[in-house]
Amino acid sequence: MRENEFEKGVKKTMGDFHLQPSASVWPEVERRIRDRRRRRGFVFWFSLSGLLLAGLAGWWWLGETGQKRTASHAVHTQKQVFSPATNAEKSSYAAEKITETASSGDKSVTTDTKNRVEKGTILYKKSTEKEITPVSIKNPGLTAKPEPSRTNHRQTGNPKNNSRPVNKKPVSLPGVLQSKQEGEQITPALSNKQNVAARKPEGADTAVAINSEKTTPVGFTAIPDTVRKLDMVQKNDSIAINETAAGKSSQKKKSAWEKGLYLSVGRAVLTEGLGTFGQKSMEFQSGGTVSNPGNSNMSYADSVALTGTHLQAGFYIRRYSGKRTSFSLGLGGAVYATRQRTGNYVDTNRAVSFYQLSATSGGYYQAAGSRRYTNRYIYLQTPLFWHWQLNKGRDFPLMEWESGLIPSFLAGSRALVYDPVNHIFFREKSVYNRFGLAAQTGLNLTLFPESKHPLRAGLYYNYHFSQLQKTRPPAFNHLSGWGLQLRWIISK
C-alpha cells in the first residue's frame, strides 16, 4: 500500500515538471522536418523522371523490335514473290546497287538501295520495280543501258535467266555503258557489276531500260532525255534520287507522333484541398466576411483571394501506345490569376514580421478596403497525359478521357502575400514554392476528324498538389483551375 502511495507522490510531484529547452532546439527540429520534405521531393522527382525515362526507353525498344519483326516478315513474304531468286542474288544485287551509287561520279543518280535493303523487302521490291541505271553526267556522250530487271527474267519463265553471276569480269555487251560512238566501250567501276545482258529493244537506237512490271521504257537515249526520264521516274515513283553519293532516302516516313497545340481557358481558384471549390466556406468558418472590407477587426477571410482566370497554352506530341490509348508530352505555360480585395497602396518601406522572413516591403497594400488586385502566377509546365478513347466515333463524335500530371515551375509571380500580424499585403516572391505538381483530368470530343487538322474540344479540371505558398502557408494554398480546353492537331 505504501508503495503505491510513494508512486502516487512521485507521480504527483513529477506530473507538472516543466523545463524550458534552449532556443536552439526548435530551429533544429524544423530544419530536420524541412530536410526530410525536401528529400522526399527529390526522391519523388527523381523516381518520376527515372520512370519516364525507363518507359520511353522501353517504348522505343519495343517499337524498334516491332519494326524489325515487320521488316523480317516482309522479307519473308518477298522471298516468295521473288522466287526463284536466291538470297545470294538479292544480297549481291543490293551490293551492286550500293557500289553503283558510290562509283557513279560526283553527280550521280541513284536509288537508295542500301536503306531499302536494311528496311525490308517492301522497299527492296520497289527498287526492283523501278530500275534506274546510273548515268555519268560528266560524260554526256555516254548512254547507259540499264540492266534488265530480274522480274523480267522471271517473266520469261526460265529460272536460269535469273541467275546473275557475281564478281565476274565485265562483259562487253551493248547497253552496259556505252558511248555513242560505235564500239567504244566504257568500263567504269559500275560496269564491273553490269554482268547481265542488257536488252536492246527492237527499233530503238539506243539501249532502253525497261520497267519490267509496268513495261514502261525508262531508257536513256541521250543525256537530256535520260535526265528527263529519270525525273519522271523520280516523280512518279518517289524513288530517291540523290545528288550525293551517300544515297539518303527521300522516302518520307510518316511520323508516329501526333503534333499539336493546346489551349485551355477557364477559372482559377485557390482551394483548401482537393474537391474544395471557392472560399465561401472559409468566410463562415472565420467569422469574417469578404463583403465587409471596412471592418477594422479584419479576419483571415478578408485575406483570401477570389477566383480569377486560368490560361494554359503550349505544344504537345502524342503517340498511340495501344489501340485506344495514347500518351502525350507537352511543353507550355500557364497563368493562374486570382483577385484580391485590398485597401490603399502605401508607397513606404515597411518591415514585415513574416514568419522566417525578415523582409522589408517596398510599399504595401492596406488590408481592409474595396480595391481589387489581381494576383498572377505564371508557370512553365510539361504536361504528361494518358488518353483513353471511349468510343469508336461512329454515331457520336470520338470521345476521349485524358488524365495526367503536370510538373510545373513557377517562372514568375505578381501576387500579394498577407501578413496577419501587421494586416497588410505585400509582394514577396521568396514565399512561393518554385516547383509544383498538378494533376489534370478532362473529357474531349474530336471535331472535324476527317479534316487535315482536327480539333479536340472538351472540359478540364486541374489541381496543384503542391502548396503555392511555402512560408507561413495559408489554409487556401492549392491552385486549381477548370474550364474549356482545345487541342488543335497540326500533324497526325
Partner: protein, 187 residues
Amino acid sequence: MTDDRQLVRNCLKGQAAAQKELYERFAGLMMGICYRYTKSVTDAEDVLQDGFVKVFRQLHSFRFDGELGAWIRRIMVNTAINYLKKHSGYRAELSFDAHDNLHPVSEEDAELKLTAKELAELIRQLPTGYQTIFNLHAVEGFTHVEIGQMLGISDGTSRSQYARARQLLLSWMEKNEMTKNKLYAGK
C-alpha cells in the same frame, strides 16, 4: 489557442506556424521527461529534438482516440529509451545488476519536501538502469511486465531493480535531509 484537432490538421498541411505552436505547447513538459531520463541537459535536448522530429513525422498516425499530450509523451519516452540504448555512455551504465552500495532506509521515516526539480535531480543521480526503470514505473506508470518488454528484461528483474532504485532514492533523501514532509499522501 487552437484546439488539438485543428492544430494537428494544420501541422499535417505543413503549416510551419502550427508546427511551432505544437512544439511550444508541449516542449516544456517533454523537456522535463527527457531531463529525467538523461544525465545532462544537452542529452535531454537531443532526445527532445529527436522526439519532436518523430512526432511530426508520425503525426498522420495520431487518431485522436487519446490525448495528444499523452501520445507525444509516449513518443518521448520511447525516444529516450532508444537514445539510452544507442549511446555508448549510457549503454554501459544501462545494466540491471544490483548495486552493492545501497543501504535500505525505513520508509516510515521518509519525510519528503521536494520540489519536482529536486526530485528529478535525485532520479538523474541513479544508475542509468535504475533511473530508467524508476521513471517508467513510478512516473510513467508502466507495469513491470510492460517495462520488461520495453527493455528486454524479465518483469522480476524490473521489480527488483525498481525496489533498489526506490531504496536508493529514499536513502539519498534522508542523507540530504530533504525529507521533511512525508511524500506519502496517506500519512
